[in-house]
């Protein structure tokens, strides 16, 4: 069991955790400094067991959802609502803040795919789950819901805009769903797995297209959008993309690039001139071959970040209460923590219709 190491720490007994698409980047060895023996898992909720001497907002017994960002709430960035960019939580890198269970590049904190977890800055991120909220909804509010929502928000969507979402995983699904909340007029989802596209068609609800049935994605999307391109393109894929052999070899196999950046290429090349590309897909931090010339020539705005969960939580909790979003509908698998290896494989290999697996520490 982890120990209190700082007066603002809490120890949380995990009741639910998830495997995130971002975890697959760790699983596939694409994020550096992922040390043997470290515990993964940045999406979890649970019961507070112990609190440090300076924790004021939580007490043992509280059931909390814990945002994936570890944020101090005081630094230059936290004060601007950039909780994903805290400067007081990650010794190993300045580019990203601390994240639970996400390698030492994100601070070297053990994560929530465990029975207990140390939660630093317990007064800042963790939020007591409202009585009316289903805990399946709560656990998804720790990452995928705010990440998908922020992807749409960063897109600066204007009423009537055409939005293309690359990736029909949980974040892409949530981005598609959220695009409507910002007034999109048309939402298109692209993926390479039929069952995920079928899910997106219903959950989005969105127009869906399979990468494998399209010869040239950019030309196809231009034709779909009056030959000008989409107003907003969202990359909800990151480095594990399918679709380009050379990038797969250099990025995902040899690890010489930040993964396979094909989704980002498509996003930049499919957006209209003056449009916005919003990136929430995770890329490793090595080199990358990004068509930056097209970014300049087309006058594109690129927006990207880890979601600042705490900033978005109040609004998203209201949206869940109002029934505008229904996160738990994405949960397809409930797996005892002891069977985590199988759960990772099912999620990674896209078997058994898996959209989102939830891990149950006590098998319940």
């Amino acid at each position: 069991m982890p120990q209190i190491q700082h007066p603002e720490d809490a120890i949380v007994r995990v009741t639910r955790s998830c495997i995130c698409g971002s975890d697959l980047h760790l699983y596939h060895g694409m994020v550096p400094d992922t040390r043997v023996g470290m515990t993964f898992g940045h999406e979890f909720c649970g019961t507070v067991e112990q609190v440090g001497t300076e924790v004021r907002n939580l007490k043992p017994g509280d059931h909390v959802l814990v945002p994936f960002n570890i944020a101090c709430g005081k630094c230059h960035f936290c004060q601007q609502g950039l909780f994903g960019n805290c400067h007081e939580s990650n010794a190993q890198a300045t580019a990203v803040g601390g994240i639970f269970g996400y390698s030492h590049t994100a601070g070297g904190y053990d994560g929530g795919q465990a029975q207990y977890v140390r939660v630093p800055y317990a007064d800042v991120g963790p939020t007591v789950i409202p009585d009316w909220m289903d805990h399946d909804d709560a656990v998804l509010l720790t990452d995928v819901v705010p990440t998908g929502y922020q992807a749409a928000e960063m897109g600066g969507i204007q009423p009537g805009d055409t939005v293309v979402v690359f990736g029909a995983g949980p974040v892409g699904l949530m981005a598609a769903r959220s695009a409507w909340l910002f007034g999109a007029g048309r939402v298109i989802v692209i993926d390479h797995v039929d069952y995920r596209l079928e899910f997106a068609r219903v959950f989005g609800p969105a127009e869906v297209y399979n990468v494998r049935e399209i010869d040239d994605m950019v030309v196809f999307l231009k034709k779909q959008t009056d030959s000008l391109g989409a107003d907003v393109c969202i990359d909800a894929v990151g480095g594990d993309a399918a679709g380009n052999a050379i990038q797969t070899l250099l990025g995902t196999k040899l690890k010489l690039e930040a993964g396979n950046a094909i989704a980002l290429h498509w996003a930049i090349n499919s957006v209209k001139k003056g449009g916005i590309v919003s990136i929430v897909g995770v890329y490793g931090p090595t080199g990358n071959i990004v068509p930056i010339g097209n970014v300049v020539n087309k006058g594109i705005t690129i927006r990207a970040n880890q979601a600042s969960v705490k900033r978005l939580l109040p609004r998203l909790i209201e949206h869940v209460k109002a029934g505008l979003i229904n996160p738990k509908a994405m949960i397809t698998h409930r797996v005892p923590l002891a069977d985590i290896a199988d759960a990772y494989h099912i999620f990674s290999a896209k078997l058994d219709g898996c959209i989102k697996p939830v891990l149950l520490p006590n098998g319940q």
């Binding site: 630094c75 004060q79 010794a91 300045t94 601390g98």
Partner: protein, 183 residues
């Protein structure tokens, strides 16, 4: 030429005339009008003193107030990681060294397991049971490929070490008496 002198903005004609925060295209992420701090000036949280080795990016001028203490660097991979942290986050080698250290760390992990008398069940750790349940065809293809590649490697090695070397006449042949001429 490098200079450390700051420019006095009061001497620049028109400085700041268009600096309306409402024009900032990064809204709503940055709230410059509400900004309370500049530089490293905030009221810091209590400082954690780590009880294990924590590597620090050279882009930090001080250790963050709270740090992760999972799995401190150790062994050969740890030495590579320490070396990698002498380079900045903008240096490709920093990341490539860390990626290399990760691969070495995997081998170290297996060796450590074996040293503790625990043989790692790698197929199970890679989800073979799930593959068997949900993707029998794929599993059969992978096992078939593995057996095929293994057999090819075995044959190639066997050929190298075995009698496949072509026979060439040597001195012993030259010394051997010629067969008697036919009568």
């Amino acid at each position: 030429m490098l200079t450390t002198e700051l420019v006095d903005t009061a001497t620049i004609p028109g400085w700041g005339v268009d600096a309306d925060p409402k024009n900032n295209p990064t809204y709503p992420i940055r709230h410059i009008e509400d900004q309370q701090t500049r530089g490293l000036t905030w009221d810091r949280p209590a400082i954690q003193v780590p009880d294990v080795e924590v590597l620090r990016s050279i882009e930090h001028n001080r250790l963050p107030a709270v740090v992760g203490t999972s799995t401190p660097p150790s062994g050969v991979s740890g030495a590579i990681r320490r070396y990698a942290f002498r380079r900045s986050e903008s240096d490709w080698w920093h990341w490539l060294l860390l990626m290399g250290a990760d691969r070495i760390n995997v081998v170290e992990g297996v060796v450590q397991d074996v040293a503790r008398g625990r043989l790692p069940n790698i197929p199970a750790e890679m989800g073979a049971r799930a593959e068997w349940r949900h993707n029998k065809t794929g599993l059969a293809r992978k096992v078939g490929t593995l057996i095929g590649v293994g057999a090819a490697l075995y044959l190639a090695l066997r050929r190298e070490g075995g009698p496949a070397i072509p026979h060439t006449p040597d001195l012993a042949d030259a010394a051997r008496p010629a067969p008697p001429a036919p009568l």
